[in-house]
């Protein structure tokens, strides 16, 4: 049976499952004005994102190019103070070329806070009506890009929520979707098993290199990707957390290695390398879960499968987050925030496959417009900080060889 959902056609051939109007601040100084422009429209599909930094960042520019032309995005309003480094003209031009309605408001030119908010809200109101006329076409499985992340992990994550998500990934990949997992800092200890799944030996070497890079980076920092809550939840070492996290990727072959902003060229399973290249310049690779979600979304993820044990409540701007909880006690306590109860496996009332089927069915409903719990509760978190990446080389996207 061929599943489909009703999506939004975009000029680059990709199809969105949402039709968001983004209000984007280009420096922290423009944040309040942008927030006030967006505020009356919070439940009408208007999302606020932004880059707080005043100094130049190639990474931030690349991320914003990708995020503002994401298939879930229908229109963009840029809000600039006026003197920040972000190249607003280049971003506006990039969005305009994609055929989306776009405008830039410069607070210093417009005449200050009140005038910019007034003009901005007017533009948003007019543009929301224009968004109603975006062409609707079917989204099929090969159009979908699905990301996964774990946050607030405890020891249950690796035995319920993550393996169930791995089964869902296996199914979507087999059906032709692109699925992306990441957190190379949490694959330390898993290099051998990961490299063995690469579709070519060269890619296998690159996957190993990316994990080695992560180990070196975190060793320099003196701190692994390990939070206090992980230990309280029963995880003792980074490699233990890694093995649990690794299960989310399922058992498909790995087709490529992405960097933030790279789009998967075809269906398959991809690893997103989130650890910066070069020296440790800007601190932790990703300061929180939403920083990683933003990078998955920049790679084109329509939605995110988010596994948790301790109980994360976040959603995200642009792409809906499906919350899968592996700990039955957490699910009971945070029941309004959890989409899928994977802890049922521990209680003996469901199998991993049954939980995987629930996640699969919910994914299609969300693709068709059903809101996730975090979406319905108004969660639209977004974080973007300074990072540095070299471009991914061609070997990161090998063409799968013909079967012998």
């Amino acid at each position: 049976m061929h599943r489909e959902a009703k999506g939004y056609a975009r000029s680059d051939g990709r199809i969105g499952i949402r039709n968001v109007l983004l209000v984007v601040y280009l420096v922290e100084c423009a944040h309040h004005v942008a927030r006030e422009i967006a505020r009356p429209f919070g439940r009408q599909g208007v999302h606020l994102i932004g880059f707080p930094g005043c100094y130049p960042s190639e990474y931030a520019a690349r991320m914003m190019n990708s995020l503002c032309t994401h298939p879930n995005v229908g229109a963009v309003l840029l809000v600039s103070l006026g003197c920040e480094s972000f190249d607003r003209a280049a971003l506006e031009s990039h969005v305009a070329s994609s055929g989306r309605p776009v405008a830039t408001l410069v607070i210093q030119s417009k005449g200050g806070t009140r005038k910019t908010i007034r003009t901005g809200r007017r533009w948003v109101k007019e543009t929301l009506s224009r968004l109603d006329s975006v062409r609707r076409i079917p989204v099929r499985v090969h159009d979908l890009v699905i990301g996964t992340i774990c946050g607030g992990s405890d020891a249950t994550s690796g035995i319920t929520a993550n393996p169930a998500t791995g089964l869902v990934f296996d199914r979507f990949v087999a059906e032709g979707a692109a699925c992306i997992f990441e957190e190379t800092g949490e694959l330390i200890g898993c290099e051998d098993v990961i490299a063995a799944r690469a579709i070519t030996p060269t890619l296998g070497r690159l996957l190993r290199d990316s994990v080695r890079k992560a180990a070196k980076y975190y060793t320099t920092l003196g701190h692994g990707s390990f939070a206090v809550g992980n230990a309280e939840g029963g995880l003792t070492t980074l490699e233990e957390k890694s093995m649990g996290a690794y299960c989310k990727s399922g058992s498909s072959k790995i087709s490529g290695l992405l960097k933030p902003g790279d789009k998967p060229p075809r269906g398959g399973l991809y690893l997103l390398d989130i650890v910066p290249d070069g020296e440790v310049r800007f601190g932790f690779p990703n300061i929180c879960d939403n920083a990683e979600i933003a990078e998955l979304i920049a790679c084109g993820c329509h939605l995110i499968l988010f596994t948790t044990g301790r109980g994360s409540v976040v959603g995200s701007a642009i792409s809906p987050v499906i919350k899968i909880c592996g700990n039955p006690e957490t699910t009971k306590r945070l029941k309004d925030d959890i989409d899928v109860d994977a802890g049922r496996v521990l209680d003996g009332v469901a199998s991993l496959q049954e939980v995987a089927n629930d996640i699969y069915e919910l994914t299609w409903r969300v693709a068709g417009g059903a809101q996730t719990r975090s979406e319905a509760l108004g969660h639209q978190e977004f974080i973007l900080t300074y990072k540095y990446f070299e471009p991914a080389g061609p070997a990161c996207f090998p063409v799968p060889s013909e079967p012998q």
Binding site: I159, G224, A231, T236, T237, G309
Partner: protein, 93 residues
């Protein structure tokens, strides 16, 4: 279905994952043997499936997740106080 106390994820594992809280003084059946819990432990924490020597690898998911820093007795809590990472040490909470 009666709720199990622990799960062994892989036959090679020398630790077991608790599926529910256990109380100090509570007796647990591991295989054919009985052991009394020495402390309260939350869901998700690990207990030793057999005695483990100092310097021995801790095996979970069929792979090493670290190394024992103390001798560990059968059924004992296995965590930051008696094991450490082979990669990057965890800062204790």
């Amino acid at each position: 279905m009666k709720k199990r106390v622990y799960l062994q994820l892989n036959p090679a594992d020398n630790v077991l994952v608790l599926l529910r809280h256990v109380k100090a003084g509570e007796p647990i059946e591991i295989g054919q043997q009985r052991v009394v819990m020495m402390v309260d432990l939350p869901l998700g924490h690990k207990i030793a499936a057999r005695p483990i020597n100092v310097g021995e690898q801790i095996i979970k998911y069929g792979v090493s997740i670290g190394v024992a820093t103390r001798a560990i007795s059968f059924g004992e809590h296995v965590h930051l106080h008696n094991m450490t990472s082979n990669y990057i040490p965890t800062r204790a909470p």
